[in-house]
Structures are given as C-alpha cells and as structure tokens.
Amino acid sequence: MPDTILAVVEQREGKLNRVSLETIAAGQAIAAATGWPLEAAIVGAGVAAIASEVAAKKLAKVYALESPRLEPYTPDSFASALKQFLSSKQPKLVLMPHTYQVRDFIPKLVTAMGSTAITDSIGFKHEGGKLLFTRQMFQGKLAADVGFTGNGPWFATFQNGAFRGDKSEDGSAAAPVETVNVEIPEGVVRNKPEPIFKEAKQAVDLTQAEIIVSVGRGIKEQKNIEIAKQLADALGGELAASRPICDSGWLPMDRQVGSSGQTVAPKLYLALGISGAIQHLVGMKGSKAIIAVNKDSEAPIFEIADYAVVGNLFDIVPPLIEEVKKAKG
C-alpha cells in the first residue's frame, strides 16, 4: 500500500475549527516534500457539511467518520473511532492541530495503536528520505529535530501558527467525500461532559485592542502593575498579562494572553518582564510589532521581538511613560 498522509481536522458544534486549515497547509507542504498523497478526516456526528467544506481544499479524499456517540467529544469515543479507521486505512503519517482537544486524546490513541506522537511541532524537515519534526524544547530555549524509529503509523501535531491557514491550497475540483460509519460499543465512553461555557463576564475584549501592554512575572508584585497600567493609559492601550499573573489573581482572567486565554494580534504588543513561555507566545506572536523588555538577554521572548530592550523594566517604564506623554503633547 502506498504511503499516505492523513490530516485529521477539528470541529466544534458543527463548525470547522479554523486552525485545521493550518494542519492542511502543513500536510500539503509534507506531501510536496515526500510525494505522498494527502487526505483528510473529520470526526463527529452529522459532519457532512464540514466534510464538504474541507473537500474544497487540495486533497486526494476526505473521510467523514460518523457516529452519534462522537457528539459530544470524549477521548474514549474519539480514540475508539480513529483507532478503527486508522487500523483499516493505514496511513503512514497522521497530522492534527495541537489543540486542547487533540492533546486530550492523541496520547491515548497512539498508545492503543502501539505508536507514538511528536506533539507541538513547529515545522518539519525531509532529509535523505527521513521525516523529522522540529519542536521547541525547554520553553523555546532550544530546538529539537525529532524522528520516528518504528514503522508507523506516525503521528504529529502542529502548534497554532506554525503554518498559515490562509496558505492552504484549494483544489481545482472538490475532493471526493466518503462517509465512514464507525461503531462505538455501549460502555466505551466513560466521561459525561456538560456543555462548554465561558467563565464570568468579559469586561475587556483584548482581541479588539490596537495596543497592548502586557506584564509577566518580572513585574514581581501586584502593586507594580500600576506602572504598566500608566503606560497602557498613556499609549491609549489595554493592559494584559501572562498566565502566572492571572493565576495569582493580580489581574482578572479576561486579561490573560496565551493558549488558555486570548489570542491577540494588535498593532503593538509591549511585553514587560515576560520570559516568553510557549503557551504565552502562541497567544501573541501574530502581533504586528512586538517590543520586549526583560533583564534576561536569553529570554525566549527576544526570539520574536521586533525591538528588544535588555534591562530592568522598573528603570525603563517610568521614563518611557514621560516620553510618551510628551510625544502626545
């Protein structure tokens, strides 16, 4: 059987999760490098419409894996359905986006299949016929090229933003769609999930802010956040924070930027005392301009900053507030 790539796309409540287009873009890039055909699969109940939407992309085929037991999502149902399908289809490489949902079931799925997943990859290399996946290690300080040692099926997940969804190619004609009804026996699903919800009222919508001043652990104490707020006010921007600041209750959760909080892409993101942990970067690396202030010259935030200030934010911010006020007259 020739080697194929299968991109498993994600849906929630009948809509395609847009990050899936990044997975398709990744699959298309690997297909171009290896010559292996790319197919896609969507998992759920009543997913025909999404399958058709996906079929507009340049793909050899789209599979709709259907079962009423696949809605709502549970790791038991998804692992069961995909194990059945993948065991019979036998793709060489299975790709997924590194979403919280995929993290919830992919290790279970690969273990059930005696295989392994290289998760949270940011790219791939094809060298001498060998496929390697690049991952950030030690919170981005180092990078690793990781390869598979077994026969497969091989699994890899891609980090949000590692590929551009708008670069995923459309097909010249719709790809054929095949519905695969999967049988999930009674008793397989053990978790009983309730509907998802957003916690508390959202007082601020950071995704609408043009300028964001964000604080990390370098702010040291809650009372110091005041100078960051003054800077945000002077610039006409919004205050935000990395996760530890919100976990400590120093700022409310609706100010959190990162994989669990808001994903923002403002004109300017000013990171004060933020080291640049991966979970934070995925929430703001799309910003048009990034200024980072941190006293550690090795901080991963400097990898993605347009302007870097290696120094103490408590020395830098007060004169900066004054200069901004002067400039605004």
Binding site: F138, G140, L268
Partner: protein, 256 residues
C-alpha cells in the same frame, strides 16, 4: 482517597543551557527544580487528602538527583515516595516512562493519579494520558477543579480562549493538572524534619525493564534555534532608551 502524583525534575527555568558534544541533549551541569505544573498537581492532591482523608504518594523517574523532588514533596506533606532511579530514565520517551510508572505501581490501588499537564523541558503533554490508556482508566486533561461525587468525580476542564467544561467521570481516573488550579504551599520546618522518616522506595531499572521497549521516537539533534525574526536592540541608559522607543513608536510603528 489514595492519590498518586507523578512528578518530574527539570532544569531550572533560568538555567543557562548548553547542548552536549553529541548534539543530542543538554549538558547536565545545571541546577534542577520540580516541574512547575507537577507542583500544582501535588498541591491539589494534598488538598483532596485534607478534604477526604487518604494517602498521597509521589513518584518520579530519573537519576539520583531527582530524589530532591520527592524529598520536597514529602516535606510538603506527601505520605510516601517511589523513585524509579536510573540515569537511563532521562532519555526515555513518554510511552516508556508511563510503562515504567505503571509497572512500579502494579500492586497498588490508587483512586486517582495526577500529573502536571506537561513538562517544562519536553512539553509533550502525553505521559499522564498514556498512563491512563495503559491502566485502562478514564482520564481528563488540563484540569482546574476536582470535586468528589457519589459515583466518582466532577472535574472542570480548561479549554482555549477562556472556555471551560465540567465532566463527570468514574474513578479510578487519571487527571492532568493545570497550573494555577490552586496556590502552592511552602514546606514547613516540621515538614522537612518529618520527611526524613517517610518511606522512599527505590525501584531500579532492572525491576521494570521487562515492561519497557525501544523508544519509538528519537531526538536527532538538539540546537540553539536559528532566529528568523530581525530584532533591533535598543541600548543606552533608560532615559535614552525611552526616547529611542518613542521615536520608533512614532516614526516606524506609527502608533503615536
């Protein structure tokens, strides 16, 4: 409630890392600390024991130096510890690590197993879920709240973009715990003293070897990432830096 907490020792957050000569791992002459999400997992286990009585057992796999993580956990209040001790545990993939833990605890009867949601060194976020599959237990990930119910537990899963979800599950179960679920306690002096007398069982690699296999993935090379972004460093005394930044904000970024 009998709870197992899987904990990992990782290089300290601000440790300067150097790649080893082979280019496949870091030079180990750095300072280590407990993986931060695992500290939250331990804290949650201790709180559950405070609420429901029971036992908290901590386990780690790693070289001799990893014992420090267990000592700290015992000092914070864990009842006993298990150390899968061998240098070879450092290079093991998540599948083998989970298999080793499963083998080490095969004679125990835990109600819950906690892990941190991921490690700060590899960041794979897999070991806990793999362990659940090996044990045949239900699991849930990125957990922010745990309540005991008559038929098991009710947990709050964190999702992206500020969304959450409650899930009812039977026990025994594996949960991966999110940072910030609680506030970490400090070990007290009494706790540190008491820790010296708490059981710490060492499990040599030979004892679990038969359960393990070859790694299914391998790090071909580890390296300092090549920068793709062009970064301009703004230098000088603070007053000068402030002036230069405002100049950029006005003339290059046009936000003023």
């Amino acid at each position: 409630m009998k709870i197992l907490v899987c904990m990992k020792q990782v290089p300290q957050k601000d440790a300067p890392l150097k790649v080893n000569d082979a280019g496949t791992w870091i030079r180990e002459d750095v300072q280590y600390e407990v993986n931060e999400p695992d500290a939250y997992a331990l804290e949650e286990a201790l709180r559950q024991r405070e609420k429901h009585k029971g036992e908290v057992v901590v386990v780690t796999s790693g070289p001799a130096r990893a014992q420090q993580v267990l000592r700290e956990a015992l000092a914070k209040g864990a009842d006993r510890a298990i150390h899968l001790e061998d240098d070879k545990f450092v290079g093991m993939d998540a599948f083998n690590t989970a298999k080793a833990i499963a083998a080490a605890i095969k004679d125990e009867k835990f109600d819950l197993i906690f892990t941190g949601l991921q490690s700060d060194d590899y960041g794979y976020a897999q070991t806990g879920v793999i362990l659940a599959e090996l044990l045949g237990w239900p699991h849930a990930t990125i957990i922010m709240q745990i309540e005991k119910t008559d038929v098991g537990i009710r947990v709050k899963r964190e999702l992206e973009a500020g969304y959450f979800q409650f899930v009812d599950m039977p026990t025994p179960a594996v949960l991966t715990i999110q940072s910030g679920i609680n506030k970490l306690r400090y070990a007290t002096l009494i706790g540190i003293k008491q820790a010296k007398n708490k059981p710490l069982r060492k499990v040599p690699l030979a004892e679990v070897q038969s359960a393990l296999g070859e790694n299914l993935q391998t790090i071909e090379r580890l390296y300092v990432p090549q920068k793709t972004k062009k970064t301009e460093t703004i230098e000088g005394p603070p007053a000068e830096v402030a002036k230069k930044l405002v100049d950029k904000l006005r003339n290059e970024l046009r936000v003023l």
